[in-house]
């Protein structure tokens, strides 16, 4: 009994997610159908992939508000370069572009010592501007029929998108729990000075955090472009706050130093499930906005209060 209580206390968000799923299963007959479950997973996949990088960033004590622009930019590169270099090199170029964005962010945070919040607001303006410029602001469709399959096809009924997300989540989990690299990021997020004094190369890790975050954003950008067979500079406008919200709702604290990819995924799934369920129930979008806001307030508020009680 007490064990159950303890699990519930420790895994509040997981319990919440399960309750939500059960409740929605009862309310809407469509909700627990195979098709719909796949839908929900696909809906979480783009943000889920970005959550991998964002979890690194937030555990490391930083924000990355530029993931939306990175996503848009790399999606555009993947499509715009294809006619010149072919699809696979174009996708690699897109990832390289993302990594470059991450390096810029990382350099500014780690070497110039500017707060990541400001840096990534600034770079998101810059890279969104560049994305708008190279596309002249138009949505650009891919002319390669192969490209769109990545984001839309399935294998054994499971979309590639979901498979890629699961793979990235597993890799992230491994890196965060079983490698020195991952643990050092926890140390940096927990206490930068200690990390420095312990001989951890903080500048390297800070930069890595942003590179990883940008890399997953780039991956998400390519996949999203593939899913839509189109890239556009406005794709990803809502991404940064949505991903951060998911990660934080899962219980990865914005103070840094704590959290896990599992928790982040729970957070992302909670939002997908709610959105999907409200859509299925035909709840008008204005109410949906309100419900989402309330939920965010309640969950974060509860977490804040629990943290306060603990200390």
């Amino acid at each position: 009994m007490t064990k159950v209580k303890k699990i519930i206390a420790e895994q509040k968000t997981l319990v919440f997610l399960l309750l939500l799923v059960i409740l929605m299963g009862i309310i809407s007959p469509f909700f627990l159908t195979g098709d719909n479950i796949v839908n929900v997973l696909v809906q979480s996949s783009i943000y889920g992939i970005m959550a991998c990088g964002m979890t690194f960033a937030i555990i490391g004590g930083d924000f990355d508000l530029s993931v939306g622009s990175t996503m848009a930019l790399s999606g555009l590169v993947a499509i715009l370069c294809e006619p010149y270099v072919g699809q696979v090199p174009a996708m690699l170029l897109a990832l390289l572009t993302a990594v470059a964005v991450g390096l810029v962010n990382g350099f500014l945070v780690a070497k110039c010592g500017i707060s990541s919040f400001i840096v990534t607001i600034g770079t998101s303006y810059i890279f969104k501007g560049i994305a708008l410029k190279i596309s002249s602001g138009d949505p650009i469709a891919s002319s390669n029929p192969w490209f769109g399959r990545l984001g839309n096809d399935k294998i054994l009924g499971i979309p590639y998108l979901v498979i890629i997300m699961v793979l990235l989540v597993l890799i992230t989990h491994y890196v965060l729990t079983a490698t020195r690299f991952g643990r050092n990021i926890y140390t940096i997020g927990g206490n930068m000075e200690v990390a420095h004094n312990s001989g951890i190369r903080t500048a390297f890790y800070k930069t890595s955090i942003f590179v990883l975050s940008a890399f997953t954003a780039g991956t998400a950008g390519i996949l999203n472009a593939s899913k839509l067979n189109t890239a556009s500079a406005v794709q990803g406008d809502n991404a940064a706050l949505s991903v951060i919200t998911g990660v934080v709702i899962g219980g990865t604290s914005l103070i840094g130093g704590v959290g896990s990819i599992g928790k982040s995924m729970i957070g992302i799934l909670i939002f997908s499930v709610i959105t999907n369920a409200l859509d299925l129930m035909g709840v008008f979008s204005y109410y949906q906005t309100g419900i989402r806001g309330l939920m965010l307030i309640v969950i974060i508020g509860m977490e804040a209060y629990a943290r306060y009680r603990e200390s």
Binding site: Y174, R180, A195, H196, N197, I200, G257
Partner: protein, 501 residues
């Protein structure tokens, strides 16, 4: 192995911070396997010297030689690889990580694709914790430990590096006698294994107990180094402060009054302390002793309204009062000097004058507007009377040394005109000279009729500076000692024995 007698040589080290020359042509030679004491007033430059040595801050000029080889230490990692490890004065731990991870931070053992060997980490950590006498689960978060617990983890961490030279920067400041004995044991072991230890402390008793030789530093300069046999407390103190001091604790001139100012009955806070009752008279200095983690801080925090009480009453001047917040405590003329200056006592990024008036802002406000001129003159007055060393009242508290920071905290509470002054570890990390001044101040305040509660983990201090002494163990009041009963033996008897009194 080099045959050089000295394992570590620092020559002509210089280091300046903007505005301060912290190290002036420092030279220090340490023999293989010795325990070297390093003493000096606050701000003398001890910590800075050690930070330079371990690559945390770069030096301006000078030469470091380890084992006969000239080295340029570029980073803490580099220092570690040269066999140097350090226990920091300020904790160097990540609260959100487990104890085991903190011990192995940055160098967790790993093996191929399976990654970090968590089992090994926990087993090794457990062994180390046992060695330092800390009986806790290595997977517990460091944040959940008491100050002393953290200190022991720091020591375990330094031990885990198997270094040739271990630097300990005031490891004892937060420890009480039981843990201290353990630490001494560890240092003795290290010495037997041929490890060199540099031991920094403000507590001279320890220096005499542990060290083979002592280096005195004053104002960023090495005064001299002597074998311990040739020194006495008095000679060390006079070297440190540049003048001679007769006694360590000033004797109080006045006596306690009869009027009871504060009385607490049956105070309880669930799971932390229970049934605490005592009374405090006008002009009295009430000491509270106990081992670290006994719950002393929690008791006074609860009285001050910073934590919730679950039972009991507080009676001020014969009238029961309820205190829900520090604000209410202050309005009842109670003040609390917290044990943790930096995070709880001061607004570091702010000026001396702003800190001084923080708890009694109303006094310098007219119709809600802050009178800055008056504020500065108030602050200047306290700087004067407390002999705070600072370029001016507008200086940021951040840039003051520990002792001077503590004086700012005291100034803040004195300005509230409190009748009851609670001092939790008022001299932690403060040098002898400044300590003496603070003791004198405490006595003056008591003589002027203030009721004072002093919590200290330093037994001689709490014995000498109190008129009456409570001993707390495990959240319960185990005994009350007065006059000649106030001895170290008696305190330990109550503080350690499960069923005392």
């Amino acid at each position: 192995m080099s045959t050089d007698e000295y394992i570590l040589k620092l020559d002509h080290i210089e280091k300046s911070f903007p505005g301060v020359k912290a190290l002036k042509d420092i030279s220090l030679h340490v023999k293989r396997g010795e325990v070297r004491g390093l003493v000096g007033e606050n701000g003398a430059g001890k910590s800075t010297m050690m930070k330079v040595l371990t690559g945390i801050i770069p030096m301006d000029s000078g030469q470091i030689t380890i084992d006969g080889q000239a080295v340029t230490i570029t980073s803490p990692l580099h220092a570690q690889s040269l066999g140097l490890s350090i226990i920091f004065q300020e904790f160097n731990l990540v609260n959100s990580l487990s104890i085991a991870e903190n011990i192995y931070v940055g160098r967790l053992p790993k093996k191929g694709i399976r990654g970090i060997q968590w089992k090994k980490v926990h087993e090794d950590a457990k062994a180390l914790l046992k060695r330092v006498g800390l009986d806790v689960d290595p997977s517990a978060r460091v944040g959940s430990l008491s100050v002393a617990g953290k200190q022991m983890v720091e020591i375990a961490k330094a031990l885990s590096q198997n270094s040739k030279i271990i630097i300990m920067d005031e490891p004892s400041a937060t420890l009480t006698d039981k843990e201290l004995e353990h630490l001494f044991g560890i240092i003795d072991d290290l010495k037997k294994q041929g490890v060199t230890v540099i031991y920094i402390s403000h507590r001279l008793d320890e220096i005499f107990r542990l060290c083979d030789s002592v280096t005195v530093i004053r104002d960023g300069e090495v005064i001299d180094t002597n074998p311990i046999e040739s020194l006495t407390k008095e000679t060390i103190i006079s070297k440190m402060v540049g003048r001679s001091m007769d006694q360590e604790y000033p004797v109080r001139a006045g006596t306690c009054g009869d009027e009871v100012i504060l009385e607490v009955r049956d105070l309880c806070r669930k799971g932390v302390f229970e049934h605490i009752s005592f009374s405090l008279h006008k002009g009295e200095r009430l000491g509270i002793a106990g081992l670290v983690g006994a719950g002393r801080t929690e008791i006074v925090r609860a009285i001050f309204g910073a934590d919730k009480l679950t039972g009991g009453e507080i009676i001020l001047h014969g009238k029961p009062v309820t205190i829900h917040s520090p604000k209410e405590a202050i309005s009842h003329k109670i003040a609390l000097v917290t044990e943790d200056r930096k995070t709880q006592g001061l607004v570091l990024e702010s000026s001396i004058s702003e800190n001084t008036t923080l708890a009694a802002l109303k006094k310098i406000c007219r119709a809600g507007f802050v009178n800055r001129r008056e504020e500065n003159s108030v602050a200047a007055q306290y700087v004067d009377t407390l002999k705070t060393k600072t370029p001016g009242t507008k200086a940021l508290v951040l840039n003051l040394s520990g002792g001077n920071q503590q004086k700012v905290v005291l100034a803040k509470w004195l300005y509230t005109d409190a009748e009851v002054l609670i001092l939790d570890e008022p001299t932690r990390g403060i040098d002898v000279g400044a300590k003496y001044e603070i003791y004198q101040l405490i006595n003056q305040l008591a003589d002027s009729g203030k009721a004072i509660i002093i919590i200290s983990s330093e037994m001689p201090e709490v014995i000498s500076m109190s008129d009456r002494l409570l001993v707390i163990h495990d959240g319960k009041c185990k005994g009350e000692l007065t006059g000649d009963q106030k001895t170290g033996e008696n305190i330990m008897k109550y503080a350690i024995l499960e069923e005392g009194a």
